[in-house]
């Protein structure tokens, strides 16, 4: 039993007596990496982790379904429990609220669409675009000349205005 056979080789009575004289004994904070006799305690880190884990706010556990997460019993200390369901791409959180009710939330993994990679050589300038458009319009009008195409365009717009 670790309590009776602790790493300091002390009886529980002596430990309790030391704690009485130590105001920090109640706070659960480890005193130092040195033992009570000033000797380095190799179990210090393990002891520290054990003590801090009791105050953990986030606790995590893998589950296989939403129902399992819903049915899971969580601590009543208000800590946030995170349940990961990697198979279904979901994460659930469960937390006891101050009024005693449990808040259950579901987070869904969404695969974002990949952004297309554009090559700058695939683009033309507005000037190039306009020039090409003008040439195309000219060819459509049958003149093959840009000026003729412009005139044709203007006459067309005038006709439109006359309506």
């Amino acid at each position: 039993m670790p309590y009776l056979n602790n790493s300091f080789g002390q009886t529980p009575t002596t430990t309790a007596a030391n704690n009485l004289n130590n105001p920090n004994a109640m706070t659960g904070m480890p005193q130092s990496s040195l033992g009570y006799n000033g000797v380095y305690d190799p179990n210090y880190l393990a002891r520290f982790n054990q003590q801090t884990s009791s105050n953990q706010f986030l606790k995590c556990r893998p589950v296989s379904s939403k129902e399992e997460a819903r049915a899971a019993q969580i601590d009543l200390d208000g800590s946030l429990w995170v349940f990961t369901d990697v198979g279904h791409g979901q994460i659930f959180t469960k937390q006891i609220m101050p009024n005693g009710t449990a808040a259950f939330r579901t987070y869904q993994y969404i695969q974002e669409p990949e952004t297309p990679v554009y090559n700058s050589n695939d683009f033309i300038t507005r000037e190039e675009f306009n020039k090409t458009l003008q040439n195309l319009l000219a060819k459509l009008q049958g003149g093959g000349d840009i000026n003729n195409a412009n005139n044709a365009k203007n006459s067309q717009s005038n006709t439109t205005l006359n309506f």
């Binding site: 309790a16 004994a25 109640m26 200390d77 101050p98 009024n99 005693g100 009710t101």
Partner: protein, 78 residues
């Protein structure tokens, strides 16, 4: 709860009010527990209805029948 029983006995022996002592200890514990903190506030304000509702909700979380459990609790003092 991380309460040193020897310290508790020592404090009672020194004439401290046990009820106040327990309240102080609970208040210390409630710093890391919002539910306990809320319960302490409700108890301090004598809001028994809200306190009962809190207890009912917590019992429901554990699948405990509150009325049955509370009945057993009251029998314990009779």
């Amino acid at each position: 709860m991380n309460v040193n029983p020897m310290m508790l006995l020592q404090m009672i022996k020194n004439g401290r009010n046990p009820q106040q002592l327990m309240m102080n200890i609970l208040q210390q514990q409630s710093r890391n527990n919002p539910i306990l903190e809320n319960a302490m506030n409700l108890a301090g304000n004598n809001d028994t209805n809200a306190l009962e509702k809190l207890a009912r909700n917590l019992a429901e979380q554990r699948g405990i029948n509150f009325d049955e459990a509370f009945g057993r609790f009251k029998k314990f003092f009779n």
